[in-house]
């Protein structure tokens, strides 16, 4: 008996120690205390749970920075308290996102801002949240069949088309190309791939050898590019509908700019070297910081100012090339990216 109790207590102590070891610094903690009513119920406080696809993807970390900046700005500007709770799972999982939505509602959040890993999986949870009085807005990847009040993001079909159109222009409308396609289950990426294929069909000289899926980590994506290049030595262009592979440095040496051209979506600090070297003459940047900033702003407009907001808020892509590299680098720096190379900032 004593052993069993000791086991229980040790496990509990371990749990306590583990939890105590956790940093509180980077997460916003609501100022609710045991026994005290939550301020979430007050009109001048808005708690927004942000649930992106994965906390290991740098684009969502930028969105988090944007959301937290918007919360700070709006709190100061309108004399209200806007609070952001980061509930993003460590890796992509629609089921875990649905659980996080339920948890946010149970914890008394006023609104949820979510990028859906799998719309089908989160539709029910979003509808339940809305039925329980919590406003839900989507960004990046939508759940159009749910009761969310608004979506902010790019038109994915158009993004795929633009990526392939830029690549076709660089290749003078002829040659074999491959599409780097990310997670095969993500509906927004599937639409981008479709857009890229549709656009390629407009160029008789362009031949798509395939759309290649991979785990959405920089290393896996870069390895896939190398594998495909070895398997298809005559590939002359890559349409990357996400920037994963360019978050590594390895392709700076593995890709020959004289032989292969790349056009990719996203333009984060790690990718800028590819523009400089000429491997990726064009990056189509999603202003990912704005996912968080505009998302929080829109929610505050709706909940606090009772404004009507459009159901679809389109995000425009920014074309980044050598001509505006310095300007874009400074923009990234201003959005909180600390890893922008100083040489680009001086351009």
């Amino acid at each position: 008996m004593s052993i069993r109790i000791a086991r229980g207590l040790i496990a509990l102590a371990a749990l306590g120690a583990g939890v105590a070891a956790c940093s509180r610094g980077s997460d916003t903690r609501p100022d609710t205390q045991a026994g005290a009513p939550s301020a979430a119920a007050k009109d001048d406080k808005i708690t927004i749970a942000v649930i992106a696809k994965s906390s290991t993807n740098p684009v969502f970390l930028a969105a988090r920075t944007g959301a937290e900046a918007a919360a700070k700005d709006l709190s100061a500007k309108h004399n209200i308290t806007v609070e952001v709770l980061w509930l993003t799972p460590p890796q992509e999982d629609g089921q875990v996102q649905a659980q996080r939505i339920q948890q946010a509602v149970n914890d008394g959040a006023d609104a949820i801002l979510i990028s859906c890993s799998d719309a089908g999986k989160v539709n029910g949870a979003i509808n339940d949240a809305v039925d329980r009085g919590v406003a839900v807005m989507t960004f990046d990847s939508d759940a159009p069949q749910s009761k969310r009040f608004a979506y902010y993001g790019v038109d994915d079909l158009k993004t795929g088309q633009s990526t392939m159109a830029e690549l076709a222009k660089l290749m003078n409308g002829k040659g074999k190309v491959a599409i780097l396609a990310g997670n095969q289950n993500a509906p927004n990426l599937q639409r981008r791939v479709q857009g890229a294929k549709d656009e390629a069909a407009k160029y008789p000289g362009i031949q798509v050898v395939g759309a290649f899926n991979h785990i959405e980590t920089p290393q896996d994506a870069a390895a896939e590019v190398v594998r495909v290049n070895n398997a298809y030595p005559d590939v002359r262009g890559w349409a990357m509908i996400g920037g994963w592979a360019l978050f590594t440095q390895t392709l700076l040496t593995d890709l020959d700019p004289a032989r292969i051209k790349v056009v990719a979506v996203d333009a984060l600090p790690a990718e800028l070297a590819y523009i400089e070297k000429g491997i990726t003459p064009v990056l189509l940047a999603q202003p990912v910081y704005q996912w968080g900033y505009v998302g929080v702003q829109t929610i505050v407009d709706k909940l606090h100012f009772k404004k009507d907001v459009p159901q679809i808020i389109p995000m425009e892509l920014v074309r980044v090339s050598k001509e505006n590299l310095g300007e874009w680098a400074r923009q990234l720096k201003a959005w909180g990216f600390n890893d922008v190379a100083a040489s680009y900032l001086k351009m």
Partner: protein, 350 residues
Amino acid sequence: MHGFLRRLVGSQETGLVLVVVLVTLVLTLLAGTHADRRTGEIVNNFWNSFTLIQTATDASFFAIMAIGATVVIISGGIDLSVGSIYALAGVTMALVLRGAGPMSDGTTVLLGLATCVGVGLLCGLLNGALVVGLRVHPFIITLGTMWMLRGIAFVATKAESILVPPSLTAVAKASLGLGGGLYPVPMLCMLVLAILGTIYLTRTVMGRHIFAFGGNLEASRFAGLSLARIQLGVFAVSGLMAGIAAFLGASFYGSTSSGDAQGYELYVIASAVVGGASLIGGKGSALGAMLGALLIVLIRQSIRTLHFDANYEWIVIGCAIIIAVVVDQWSTRVTAKRLSRAADAPRAAA
């Protein structure tokens, strides 16, 4: 009566229940409160019906698979393919129901359940047949089928996320009179399956054979047990449980895809191990697996409820698993020493 109480208090599950209760108490005390949006009533952030049922629901999918995995682990094997069986069973159900077209709600639910259970059972039997037939360690076989089965699911769906008919969701999300927003069905299924699993393992001949097989293979062979049948049986049970979990998961969340339950096999095995199953076989229980899953989900929930940095989740879970196993081994050694001393005492007295 005294003996029963002694066994109850000294059982592995009692220790786990104690830990679960203590974690629940700590969370309740530290969680803080908020005003309910609809009623304005002040509610505890953790100790409220929504969060408690949500926590149990989150655990139920792991727990049901962990009950099956525990049966395999007791036999001295391992099943790494449960997540893939979950995904394949779910997408097969969705494809079958889509192909079958509109049907009555009852027929839809029965066909969906039969498909999931059938696919799960078949996959389990395949694992068992390969382990027995090829005489290859279950780790290797199920590592292979983990990829194969997910690949089949991927090819079959062409990476599409398929919605399941609303009648399935209506069953999995039935409030059973508790009111809107409360969905106790997965939790109840978990409890029922844990009880059935306990009866299977402790009150049936097959259950006893599994413990014997995992505890001492040579003795089982000399005792004339059908070893192939036992191995086939444990993998069939594991597949069956993954099929049931897939039915509940796909129905509850309303859609299914080939990417479902990716990496869940590790949570499932962790639940079984935290629940007291020994990876060398011969030890474990269905109730322990359920409690192990609950404890892991509670640890995850505590990080969220107390608003700690979620990035530390994996570190905390990893530490908890290692500590649980180390403490378990330590207690086994202490118990063995105590028994040995007790056995030596009469001899010394003589």
